[in-house]
């Protein structure tokens, strides 16, 4: 490997990307010592790699925009949500660790019909992504079931977060489940409308009106991650 033209571009790339073994590296170093041109090619490849790294070292922040008031009661909704959380936090004595290894996939929901399994679970965040009314109904039924199967004296916290097409669940002019949402909210289920999903619809010129019980201001991911860090169960529907 003494001549420059014996070294392919793939080999040079593999060298700068750390893909060569020790023997191959030694060979290439030796060849570069004998060829100024090869040495220059190596430098160029390294420079290119460094340039790309450098260009993306600091990338712009996502720049999330705050959602506007979309319901006359959105601030009230936030206040209600906060007071519910406070109340539940007090009554449940903070958070109880999970002891049941539940499948978070929708298919795993069937396991929650097992009363023993349900009794062992604690707080839940249900994530609705589908605009299919049957799936929305399933989510609401699931929320209701979770409330009804909580152990006496240990109220279970349930939240529903809706994004993508699932946001329709919480849009007052679209949802077929306004009454069910209202009933569940009165049982302290909190409904979150993903701020990102709202933005996306508004960008398309859709005026988003939420049911009064919906709490805007969070992205679905932020809410889910927050709850996972609190050791809640996550169920995607």
């Amino acid at each position: 490997m003494n001549k420059d033209d014996h070294i392919s571009e793939e080999q040079l790339n593999a060298f700068v990307d750390g893909e060569l073994d020790s023997e191959e590296k030694t060979q290439l170093f030796g060849a570069a010592e004998q060829s100024a041109e090869l040495d220059q090619r190596l430098c160029q490849q390294r420079k290119l790699k460094e340039l790309v790294k450098h260009a993306y070292r600091d990338v712009p922040e996502p720049g999330r925009r705050l959602t506007k008031h979309r319901t006359p009661n959105s601030m009230l909704g936030m206040a209600i949500a906060a007071s519910m959380l406070l109340f539940l936090g007090i009554t449940t004595g903070l958070l109880i660790p999970r002891v049941f290894d539940q499948d978070p996939n929708p298919g795993g929901l069937a396991s929650t019909t097992n009363p023993q399994a349900i009794a062992a679970m604690e707080n839940y965040i249900l994530h609705v992504v589908s605009g299919d009314p049957a799936q929305m109904k399933r989510a609401l039924q699931q929320a209701k079931e979770l409330l009804s199967t909580a152990e006496p004296g240990k109220p279970r916290q349930v939240e529903v977060v809706a994004n993508e097409q699932g946001l329709d669940l919480l849009r007052s002019d679209v949802t077929p489940f306004a009454e069910e949402i209202s009933a569940l909210a009165s049982e302290q289920v909190i409904f979150y409308a993903c701020s990102r999903a709202i933005e996306r619809l508004e960008e398309k010129g859709v005026e988003v009106k939420l049911v009064p019980q919906a709490v805007p201001g969070y992205t679905a991911l932020d809410r889910v991650v927050e709850r996972l860090q609190d050791d809640w169960q996550y169920v995607k529907i």
């Binding site: 790339n13 990307d17 790309v52 990338v59 712009p60 996939n105 860090q229």
Partner: protein, 186 residues
């Protein structure tokens, strides 16, 4: 290893931590692929939510990082398919154009490189950024993008060649400054 054994409570917590901790890396990659902060953020949200709801698919915890980037790549593919957009090419607009004057030179270089990266076909762009920004091995990139290692190498080759052509006018003074602030060298 059985799923339940793999994802005992402590492992599940570790998994969640992994997901949360990788958010920034995924965002940087998504931004490199799209040049759109909002779209990149959307893709990362989709990626992490998919990861959380499909953690059963993950067989080896050690492979989790590559798995997250694979979901990200799939989310971008889905997005492009849905939108039928071609993000790379001459019609691409680099969104990040706010540059303080005192950083003009530095930003000019960064912009130039980003534009060059974004002019690449997306499959070349993905390979280059996975290798250069995240230091993934060729084998890992092959797994993430579900392509053979040979394809990774050839895309890398063609991509870097094109990048070099786009960036030939970069003068030495525009290069990142010599490492006067180096604190540690491997």
């Amino acid at each position: 290893m059985a799923y339940k054994k793999l994802f005992g409570i402590s492992q599940r917590r570790a998994f969640k931590r992994l997901v949360v901790n990788n958010r920034e890396r995924l965002y940087r990659m998504a931004y490199a692929w799209t040049s759109d902060p909002h779209l990149a953020d959307d893709l990362v949200q989709q990626t992490l939510l998919k990861a959380l709801s499909n953690q059963k698919q993950l067989r080896e915890f050690a492979a989790a990082e590559g798995w997250l980037f694979r979901i990200l790549a799939n989310c971008l593919t889905d997005y492009r398919r849905a939108k039928r957009e071609f993000l790379s090419g001459d019609n691409l607009e680099i969104v990040d154009k706010t540059t303080p004057e005192h950083q003009a030179g530095e930003q000019q270089l960064v912009q130039k490189v980003r534009e060059a990266v974004q002019k690449l076909p997306i499959n070349h762009c993905q390979v280059i950024t996975l290798v250069d920004l995240e230091e993934f091995s060729y084998a890992s990139v092959a797994q993430i993008l579900d392509i053979p290692v040979g394809t990774v190498m050839s895309r890398l080759c063609r991509g870097r060649r094109a990048l070099r052509d786009h960036l030939t006018d970069i003068k030495p003074r525009e290069m990142p400054r010599p490492a006067v602030n180096i604190k540690r060298v491997k």
